[in-house]
């Protein structure tokens, strides 16, 4: 079973994402900001990270840049999942090493294909 870390400061979003991901047979864990997520990854490297952009303490993009420099941090497929929908944000995310990008709001089908496209399935 693949492990997916959901990083979002909204408990509701984490719950919705968990629901979708568990139906797709992922083993899901949660983190409420980038720093928590980074600590998590230093312990257990997930296969997939579903990542919000704007969060307190450490943003999604700062987390991603840090993740890609730590040992084993090239491995996870990272999918941004955010209300930031401008081209410049999307380009910055890809530049920083994101594999896919989902603009909120999204539905199950969109997330499912994005996981496929990111090579996470």
């Amino acid at each position: 079973m693949k492990k997916c870390l959901v990083v979002d400061d909204s408990k509701v979003i984490r719950k919705v994402a968990r629901h979708i991901l568990e139906a797709l047979e992922y083993d899901v864990d949660e983190a409420a900001d980038g720093e928590q997520a980074l600590h998590y990854c230093q312990e257990t490297m997930p296969d997939v990270v579903l990542l919000d952009w704007n969060m307190p303490v450490m943003s999604g993009i700062d987390f991603l840049r840090a993740l890609r420099t730590i040992e084993g941090g090239q491995g996870p497929r990272v999918i941004f999942c955010t209300t930031e929908n401008g081209r410049s944000h999307i380009e910055a995310a890809i530049e920083a090493g994101a594999n896919e990008y989902v603009m909120k709001p999204f539905d199950r089908e969109t997330l499912e294909t994005k996981l496929q496209l990111a090579g996470a399935e």
Binding site: R87, I90, I94, A98, F106, T113, L117
Partner: protein, 284 residues
């Protein structure tokens, strides 16, 4: 009497109109969708309910209203690269195979039948665009048709909402082939210009949609009655070169229909038009 049973006869008439004009069948247990689909039109024309709408349709000779009503009842759901695996089969195997056959003429003709709001033909166009080095001196024609004028107008514009753009499209392709305009995404001109859109009813014969190497008719005939399906398969076969390929939707098949197609042995999910002269029956 409750509201549902009151509106049932009107729904039946409207479903009958849809089937007569387009071949699409709405089963009785999905009649509830009709009212939802027609609400915006009823609001626009100040028509209180489905019975009144049917009365208007029967009493006024209004082709425009009838067209609008039919368009609204059609299922136009679509997404980019719908069924990723099938598009990858096309790109990696089917199209290279056809290209080998057409190596001397360097001409390829593809028909996206039932193209809805354009995601399918644009997906094909993007596939060719990203291998442009391979197709440099080729003449690639992508013809996309649909019965719905509204869907075609939408397709021609090539402007998609945030919800539509991320349905099936990778972020890489989105950034490469679309411009962001406010909250929408507009397909770039070089990809748009690769597709030629026109209106067509699959159940009417047309003499000029012919000589295609590949026909995509995906998630279209599934809404048809068996008779209409049969008619559509015949029309699609007529449109193909002998040896040309047809791809249907994941849940569709020609098996069980007496058609000019055989299941492709090489490409799973594709059908091949039998070469001319080959008998329909399997030889002993």
């Amino acid at each position: 009497m409750n509201e549902e049973s009151l509106s049932a006869p009107a729904s039946k008439i409207l479903a009958g109109l849809l089937e007569a004009r387009t071949g699409q069948v709405i089963s009785a247990n999905r009649f509830w969708r009709i009212e939802t689909a027609l609400k915006p039109i009823m609001r626009e024309y100040d028509i209180p309910d489905l019975d009144a709408l049917v009365a208007v349709l029967l009493s006024v000779e209004s082709d425009d209203l009838q067209r609008e009503v039919i368009d609204a009842m059609l299922n136009n759901e679509s997404s980019f690269f719908r069924d990723t695996m099938m598009f990858s089969l096309l790109q990696k195997q089917v199209i290279p195979h056809i290209a080998k056959e057409r190596a001397s003429s360097k001409k390829l003709r593809i028909w996206s039948s039932g193209c809805s709001t354009g995601q399918e033909p644009y997906s094909l166009a993007m596939m060719f665009a990203e291998e442009s080095f391979k197709w440099k001196d080729w003449d690639i024609e992508i013809v996309a048709t649909d019965i719905s004028q509204d869907a075609l107008n939408y397709a021609r514009k090539g402007v998609y909402s945030q919800f539509e753009i991320q349905r099936g499209l990778s972020v890489e392709r989105m950034l490469r082939y679309f411009k962001q305009v406010g909250s929408t995404w507009s397909i770039k001109d070089d990809v748009r210009s690769m597709v030629r859109f026109r209106q067509d009813n699959l159940l009417r014969s047309s003499s000029d949609l012919r000589n295609f190497d590949l026909v995509l008719c995906r998630n279209v005939v599934m809404y048809f009655s068996p008779e209409a399906r049969h008619q559509a398969y015949h029309r699609l076969a007529q449109a193909l070169h002998p040896g040309g390929f047809m791809m249907l939707g994941a849940a569709e098949t020609v098996i069980g229909y007496d058609t000019e197609f055989s299941v492709s042995k090489d490409f799973r999910g594709c059908y091949e038009r039998r070469p001319a002269g080959e008998p329909l029956a399997i030889r002993a």
